[in-house]
Symmetry: C2
Subunit: 337 residues, 2 copies
DNA sequence: ATACTATCCTTTACCGTTAAAGTCAAGGAA
DNA sequence: TTCCTTGACTTTAACGGTAAAGGATAGTAT
């Protein structure tokens, strides 16, 4: 059985399709009597507007695309959980895509979303940056864009929901200083702005307390566990003594802890460790990891609001929203507060 | 700037729109020369078919609706993670809805999916059963349906992906018997088939080992932590001595453990506990919970395959797929294997 | 020369809805 | 009476694409 259409309703009532359409869109040039007859028929037949046909004429799908790198990562799910109530509350649907951390798949998903004419796209921190052209094309074709946790692609004019990465570095480093540490190394991330800013926060926090970083304190790293592991090895074999490490993210911090243990040292007694990101399971580790995190749910909420506001309102300036980071103290930093 | 349409391509090449359409749909009545000219133009303009318009004529949206009760529950995310690669691999999009455990919202989401003309719907174990009429209407309007972990709504003819609940009960109970327990109580669930079947499994396993359940061993409960707590209280104050409990699900088992601790007893020394569901964090508890779980990802995968097969193939019989449960031994059952 | 057949396009109609323009009767003003 | 409004519709033309039926041209069979 096929779904009821306006045509059927109009036919059964002996009015035109447009009249039915007008009733459902609350146009005022409809008599109260007709309005009631139409609504009664709508009710009786369980009619529901065909969103596909509507989208075609209105050129609005009332749909947002969400592209995340990995469904199984808890924080991407939290982002979605932040987006969902906002979108659903305002009548928007969510088209979910996972790029599986693969630039090619990300590109395919973006193409798909373009074909489906989504009104907006939330792009959650994909590591892929090869798809700038697609993003540009999307925004050129009046699709609103929000990027979460990414402050690159400078040519792409879109909203961004970020955290304050310098403050992340300051929080982590000050905490270690407060805990009495003085020789605080930093394992940097990959060459992206976020990592650079965390490094700057580290530098600033040290300076604010008149601690001068020694030469060997800054080591290059990356965002993978293996990066942290290798970097820590280098720190431990170097001749500069350190009593704490601030790693650019949690996996890297975990790698660092492994290296410390391998060297027969203790976390936090010999070396205190602080990471960034508050990944799930961080409190499940042999030594629960002190880290700097921020609300992914708020990020999702803000992303959805930015998107919907620029879709519904007239203002269309690219905005940036900063979600404040906060310190999560566990055992790896050797402090109780 | 507006997106390129077939009209534009046809116009620039001096051919008809239909010709362009035929090229893109691989019709054979197109000369090689024309085909190449069209494809070149498509490439040059970055043309991509408008899925909305296509959906309208084809009466197929190539979209699946997913309705889950709660985004933050890890196993619903796992279900989605099982669905995603199958759907995406076959060119289907996923429209994600969360019912927030609320029958009214579930209904609204189902209505929304109906309006959006999704080709199929995956309904993951909602507690709400008030929406049978909506489900019937959807399937009457040729929307394929799969229900995960739900074997009620008998009037709704649809695919189902379930686990073997009797076997769940047998696995849990046999494990406790193997661990040397003899007085094994059961805290039942709410009055739904799944709980009844788990209870039957418990009964069967006992019978198979010639253990006759005493009168007080079966207590009514529910699926909430508080249900397990109250039920356990009753078990502990009754005069029948027990040395193990099989609870109908994990939250209930956790409630039971709390009651045991409150009574000054030990898990598993005084009372061994086994739950069902393998919820996240089950291994994070004061005493990690032994439980019977099954692969949510497989459930998602099967759900997607059933749906897509019945959408693309001709066969349309309602199928049921059983995902096998397996025992996950942790400390609460006092056994090492 | 005539009819038949492929091959390769185009024309027409439709999918379900909405916006814009058009119609038509009733009532009021001049 | 004529003209103008106003209210309450209806008609027409899109939105972007696809399917079915309808040419036109060239080549082949008779």
């Amino acid at each position: 059985m096929r779904q009821t259409t306006m045509k059927r309703i109009a036919g059964e009532l002996g009015v035109s399709i447009t009249t039915v359409s007008k009733v459902l869109n609350n146009h005022h040039d409809i008599s109260e009597a007709t309005r009631r007859r139409v609504l009664a028929k709508v009710e009786q037949l369980g009619y529901q507007r065909n969103a596909v046909a509507r989208s075609l004429t209105l050129r609005r799908t009332h749909t947002l695309g969400i592209v995340i790198p990995d469904l199984m990562h808890s924080f991407f799910v939290e982002i979605i959980a932040g987006i969902e109530p906002v979108a659903s509350g305002r009548g928007y649907g969510l088209l979910l895509c996972s790029s599986s951390e693969d630039p090619a798949k990300e590109r395919a998903e973006l193409e798909m979303l373009r074909g489906r004419q989504v009104d907006g796209v939330v792009l959650a921190s994909a590591n892929a940056s090869g798809n700038t052209d697609m993003l540009l094309q999307l925004s050129r074709e009046r699709t609103s864009l929000v990027m979460i946790d990414r402050d690159d692609h400078p040519s792409v004019r879109c909203h961004r929901v970020l955290t304050d990465d310098e403050r992340v570095g300051v929080l982590a480093t000050s905490h270690l200083l407060d805990a009495g540490r003085r020789a605080i190394a930093h394992i940097g991330g990959p060459p992206i702005v976020h990592a650079k800013r965390r490094e700057k926060g580290w530098r600033d926090a040290l300076k604010a307390r008149d601690v001068k970083p020694a030469d060997g304190w800054l080591v290059g790293g990356g965002f993978m566990e293996s990066d942290g592991y290798r970097a820590m090895k280098r720190l431990l074999t170097g001749r500069t003594r350190i009593d704490a490490v601030f790693a650019a993210n949690d996996p890297s911090a975990i790698g660092a802890m492994k290296a410390i243990w391998e060297a027969g040292l203790s976390v936090p007694d010999d070396v205190a460790v602080v990471g960034v990101g508050d990944i799930a399971l961080g409190d499940l580790l042999r030594v629960p990891l002190t880290t700097v995190g921020w609300s992914r749910r708020d990020q999702g909420r803000h992303a959805a609001e930015l998107l919907l506001n620029s879709l519904e309102g007239d203002v269309d300036r690219a905005q940036r929203v900063i979600v404040p980071p906060r310190l999560i103290v566990r055992e790896s930093s050797g402090s109780t507060r």
